[in-house]
Amino acid sequence: MATTLPEGVSSSDFDQAIREIVKIIGDEWVFRESDLSPYLDHMSAVPAEYRMPSAALAPADIEQTQAILKIANRFSLPLWTYGNGKNWAYGGPTPLHAGYLVLDLKRMSRILEVNEESGYVLVEPGVSYFQLYQHLQDIGSNLWIDCAAPGWGGVIGNALEHGAGYTPYADHYIMSCGMEVLLADGSLVRTGMGAMPGSKAWQQFKYGYGPTLDGMFTQGNFGIVTKMGFWMMPKPPMYKPFMFSYENETDLHAVMDILRPLKLNMIWQNGAVGEHIGYSASVLGPRSDYTNDRAPITSERWSEIAKDLNLGVWNFYGACYGLPSNVEMQFGALKQAMTSVPGSRVWLEGDRAPDDAGWNYRAKLMQGIPNLTEFNLVNWDGGGHLNFSPMGPMSGRDSTKLYNLMKEITNGYGFDHLTEVVGTFRGMIALTMVMFDPRDEDAAKRADACSIDIIQKSAALGYGELKANLRYMNTVMDCYSGQDNGLMKTLVKIKDALDPQGILSPGKSAIWPSSWKHSRDN
């Protein structure tokens, strides 16, 4: 298999660089040619080979990574940093451009500290949710983790991508505290209190002194995060999961207006996840369980499916946490408000069938028990899937408008609309999955066009996309063009200052140094 080289790098320079890297990390941790297959993404709308890396490098520690950075700077090698998880729907471990080298940080997988007293952990980028959960179980910890729905995700990677979980600690970046970051020139920086030698509160207080830098190392390419602290939720005395279900598609409007004050006042403590029946059904079975018709499933059919599954067309999951008397009081308030919509039903532990995978995995996630049940979604229609998260205000009007838009666009391209709305502290995410068979060239093309439409039409209504598959990073960033592209101009200034050659993940979130002479396509 011929190696696809990074743009602008000669074959002799590349070979020389690889020889030097092999001396540092060992031949067994430099992957080339046919060994690169696990770094490809077979679940996106473009062929996996489109992003074939030239090599993957797996350093064991910071010192080895610093040595690689020196070589990368000397030979202008673009390094695409990747941590632990799978990242399907967003590009997997694969780099933005063919020829980039993947910097695989999985070997850096130490849980450096578990502090029961202050309720935090300090971890390296290779630590997965499964690993952290297992470790806390093994040591008899009273701390809960908060995990993404796929438990194989990376604790740091997910937080850096602004990912979320399902307990009250669901916003992973907000619940982080303190980073250690390697810059492109090999220098090391600790953020917040960690900058002070001998600091006793690196993971207890975020800010330290001076400007706060942490956010700029998320969803970008200004540094490699090598350590990160996370606040962990102490296991509460009582945990009470619940679900409210609603009969009609149009109930979303009323429910979201009821939900908003409950979230604002923190009576609903965790993220409020409202599954449309399409999302619920896809976790429970493949598309062929529900229809043989290739046309998108209609609202009428979804209503029938909801009845068959003993669910609502909308199903809102949440939980109460705390002292038993408080939990019962809070739940009483929630129940009174959320069941004021005609036809609503409330479900508690024991109300669903014991083998209801949908309830069971939600009840696990909301207490930080990692699993992979939600990955059943991928069985829906061939394995291809692309995720979109347009964000709007948590209101009935906006939720309904966004939901209808997601439905109209996906159905218009011949796909089912699999959507869940998630109430955060103030905003609402209309998480939508475009499901397709990547072996079907026409379906892949439609999925690609559908994705661009979702991003652009949402933005035209004022709803910005929060994350993006590699393919759509430029499209999303183009939407954040206000103040004469003020955001992008600032990001480029920072990139030029910290990484003028573009060694670190060039093009991530559409950020390139101004000197970049190569392709900016994605």
Partner: protein
């Protein structure tokens, strides 16, 4: 809130944290309600993944285990019928096939990198998958 109340609330919660059952749906969290311990900074924390069974349980069981909500098992049942729902015990599959699918992925099945599972560990997993139940 004065300091005395704060201390009392903290102590009360701590007592409840260590003495109350959790009430989780499957009791998984209540098992850990014991004296907390801390791991000092700098301690290495590898997971014990020395046998095929340990590796299978860590990497494969959540998709290919028994019970509801397992995407790999569900897909195998959909494609090949109920009797082939579980991958464990499938001695009809050549070891090289199992290892190739884990390394390269196959449609809905995700690939696993060398940094996640080494070639030696793949051999152990394939042997375990093919071993009788």
């Amino acid at each position: 809130m004065n300091k005395l109340i704060t201390v009392a609330l903290g102590a009360g919660l701590a007592l409840m944290l260590t003495s109350c059952g959790n009430g989780g749906p499957d009791g998984e969290t209540s098992a850990s309600a014991q004296k907390p311990s801390s791991v000092p900074p700098g301690e290495r924390t590898p997971i014990a993944l020395n046998t095929g069974e340990e590796l299978f349980n860590h990497y494969c069981l959540q998709c290919h285990g028994d019970g509801e909500g397992k995407p790999g098992a569900n897909m195998l049942e959909q494609k090949h019928g109920k009797e082939k729902r579980l991958i464990k015990g499938r001695d009809d599959l050549p070891a090289i096939y199992i290892k190739t699918v884990i390394r390269d992925g196959l449609l809905e099945m995700a690939p696993f990198r060398f940094t996640e599972i080494s070639d030696e560990q793949l051999d152990l997993v394939a042997d375990y998958v093919r071993s009788p139940n």
